[in-house]
Amino acid sequence: MKRDGLLSFLSTLVVIIAGLAIGLIVLLVSDVERAFPAFWTMLSFGSRSMRNIGDVLLGATPIILTGLSVTFAFKTGLFNIGAAGQFAFGGFVAIYIGVQFTFLPPALRIICSILGAALAGAVWGAIPGLLKAYRNVHEVITSIMTNYIGMYLISYTIQNTIFDLGRTTTVLLPDDSNLPTLGLDVIFREPLGTGYRSSAVNAGIVIAILIAVLVYIILDKTKFGYELKACGFNKDAAKYAGINQNTNIVRSMMICGAIAGVGGALNFMNGTGLSMNAMPVLAAEGFTGISVAFLGLTNPIGVIFSGIFVSYLFLGGARMQPFGFSLELVQIVISVIIYFCAFVLLVKNNLGTLFFKRKE
């Protein structure tokens, strides 16, 4: 077990270093002189001030949740590629409640937003779950379809309900519909003139970490987790043991839908004025969640760290633009690094056989 932990850590380190090296090469090919300062900026920006650290946590919140969503499904032997749709549904419902339910006191409204988002995500996750369980349609195909259906449905609904014509997005959330900062704004700030400039980091990151711990407890400590993992590892043996696999598939997809949905809610309820675009675009957080989940070795606690790492790269990467690197190139570099991270299990296996040759 200890050996396994060490291997996981080593292999994660190896892929990150390899990814960074290739990313640097891409920069060098593009512009030799500015490559190093830009690269250094990407690596260091996220930790240059407390405010930046706060921004890293803010950015990590939604992708930790989509990462957890993918992780949860994966443990049940399912591949949840539908986190994008579940995330968007959750986000929309949260904003809708935040904007329309002004008759509720703020605290209650926020709770309703989050619960509504979880419910919406669960419903959207249940569709591929039901189709998989009772019609044996592969969840990857159905969840790609639910992603697109969700995308157009939400775009249509925004335009007919809470539409801000000027910005072509949802209308701005009232201030008291946003998540409380819990004093985090005092910790994560930097001096500016005579005062301070705070990060928008808020209760969202706390909720994300709590949900990660909750997922860990469900998967590792409960009877329900025992059943889910049994289905994931060997569905025939689970069936043999009398575990109802179909129910577990639906439950698992609903839970991972709910987690992604909460991710959507926390993403928009942060008081930065971020609104949901009415143009049909798939939520990138859903797909980033896949990388975050695998980089975190589909371990809920690992996902917290991988989410923070990816967010750190995004934040620092954006700062390479002033060095004359186009946004496209920046995204290529970040993608290369994340892409390499997808090899983490492969590297882990190879390191394993390299160091500890298997017995007979």
Partner: protein, 508 residues
């Protein structure tokens, strides 16, 4: 003159000596058996010869010349070929494509298969393999796939052929055919190393036999002049009784009554179990004999609930359980040692402890308000490990995947028998196990019978059928064609029933 000689081979793995100073000498034109229990170091030794492992010390000679083998490519160059226990075939390729894979003949970069085809056809005829070069691997039987593996070695002109437990996956007929193919091969000048733990097969084909036990060389003997008892004692290290000791018990009430059970295959909608009726009584071991694929698996699936029955009924202690879920059956007292321990019996990625509670995890003993009770789980599992002598590296925490086959099977037997079943359904419970483990598992089944359980044993091994059962039902093409007492039936007679040449009207 030895064609291959392995001298003083020592191979270490962390914590164990897999091969301790082992010498193996293969004569040209002989079938040399390598005998040992699971985990005795047979496969390690062969992997050293095939270049998959490098030995810490020791030398390999071919025709008195020292050679060094650092990988399978070296082995191939020296004419050493291996049929692995799990075949290495591409399933959506044809037989011919699989055979030439890796040594394709090309003309201007384009495959030229005509020459290859004629060589494969002539090799197949020469050794009586009768393989269709254009059949897809996925469409041919396991026995045929094995012949394709043999053809692969012949095509590469290997002269030293290693067979790693080749009979584990074969039906009795296929085993007969393989034995004659092996004899054909040596008459053509090939030399064979035959890894096995089945003594009768050694008696049938091998010239000499080298026995390993716990990584050590016990000795090399001439098969002709050594009896089976001696071989088994060399392998296990103690006297092993091949006869199962059974107290005389008068069977009690009917535990399970199967009536007119019919099952249609989900794959091709043919009737695979047809109108089957029989009883199993308390304290009785009823054995279903038959050649693999005559409906035994489907019958068991219908009884245990893994696949639904199409018509007919299954009664357990007077209650109709034909259509109830698997969990209800398990609670009602059915224990099931499944045919395929890796597919149904175990979750290999779970620890041993987690596998031991596979059918009990939901009971208050192991969970409290939905939370697993780890102390209870591990102490229960430790108890089973102790009681059933399951040997593992890290006790309850051992990943089940890393247990040897025999211990995996013991883990299942422990779990199933500790349910105190009213009916024990055991399907090929000793498949692939060595004599020591077989003896143990048979004793456990007899113990369940003594404590009043009805036992339904499905077996393909006639020895097991004759030794263990109180009553034999023979299945042929989905029907029960015989209901006989093992005391009043011969092997030959069973063979006739199994092949469909003879049948009785069986009335319950």
């Amino acid at each position: 003159m030895y064609i291959v000689e392995m001298r003083n081979i020592t191979k270490l793995f962390p914590g164990i000596i897999a091969n301790d100073d082992i010498t193996l000498q293969l004569r040209k034109g002989e079938i040399h058996a390598l005998l040992g229990e699971n985990g005795a170091g047979k496969s390690t030794l062969m992997s050293v010869l095939f270049g998959l492992y490098t030995a810490e010390s020791g030398e390999i000679y071919k025709n008195e010349e020292k050679i060094s083998i650092t990988g399978p490519n070296d082995a191939t160059r020296y004419g050493i070929g291996m049929v692995h226990q799990h075949f290495k075939l591409v399933h959506n390729f044809t037989v011919l494509e699989n055979i030439v894979l890796g040594v394709e003949t090309t003309k201007y970069g384009i495959l030229s298969m005509d020459e290859a085809r004629s060589r494969v056809v002539s090799l197949s005829e020469k050794y009586g393999l009768s393989v269709d070069p254009d059949a897809l691997i996925s469409n041919i039987t396991v026995g045929m796939q094995q012949r394709v593996e043999i053809l692969k070695m012949l095509y590469r002109e290997n002269e030293i052929l290693i067979f790693d437990e080749p009979t584990a996956v074969l039906t009795p007929q296929e085993i007969d055919e393989l034995m004659s193919i092996m004899k054909e091969l040596i008459s053509e000048g090939k030399s064979i190393l035959f890894i096995t733990h089945k003594l009768d097969e050694i008696k049938r084909v091998a010239d000499r036999c080298t026995v390993l036990r716990k990584g050590k060389l016990i000795g090399t003997v001439d098969v002709e002049s050594t009896d089976v008892e001696t071989l088994s004692e060399m392998m296990v290290g103690r006297k092993v009784s091949r006869v199962v000791e059974k107290p005389v018990i008068e069977p009690g009430d009917v535990v399970m009554a199967v009536r007119n059970l019919t099952v249609k295959s989900k794959a091709h909608h043919k009737t695979v179990v047809s109108n089957v009726s029989f009883n199993v009584r308390a304290g009785e071991i009823v054995c279903i004999a038959g050649i693999d694929g005559n409906g035994q698996s489907e019958l068991v699936y219908a009884i245990t609930g893994i696949e639904p029955a199409d018509s007919g009924t299954v009664n357990l202690c007077g209650k109709d359980i034909t259509h109830v879920p698997i969990r209800t059956r398990s609670k009602a007292g059915i224990s099931h040692i499944p045919e395929d321990r890796h597919r149904h019996g175990l979750i290999l990625d779970y620890s041993l402890a987690y596998n031991e509670i596979l059918e009990k995890y939901y009971t208050p003993q192991f969970q409290n308000f939905g939370f697993l009770r780890f102390n209870e789980i591990y102490s229960y599992s430790d108890m089973l490990i102790e009681k059933y002598d399951i040997r593992s590296g890290e006790g309850s925490h051992t990943p089940t995947r890393s247990l040897s086959g025999g211990n995996q099977q013991k883990a299942i037997v422990a779990r199933e028998l500790d349910m105190n079943p009213k009916l024990l359904v055991a399907v090929q419970p000793t498949r692939g196990l060595d004599v020591g483990a077989i003896e143990y598992i048979h004793a456990q089944i007899v113990k369940a019978r003594s404590s009043g359980a009805g036992v339904l044993l499905v077996s393909l091994e006639l020895d097991e059928v004759m030794n263990v059962s109180d009553r034999i039902l023979v299945m042929y093409e989905g029907e029960i064609v015989a209901d006989v007492d093992p005391k009043n039936v011969t092997f030959a007679e069973l063979g006739l029933y199994m092949s469909g040449a003879k049948r009785d009207e069986v009335v319950v």
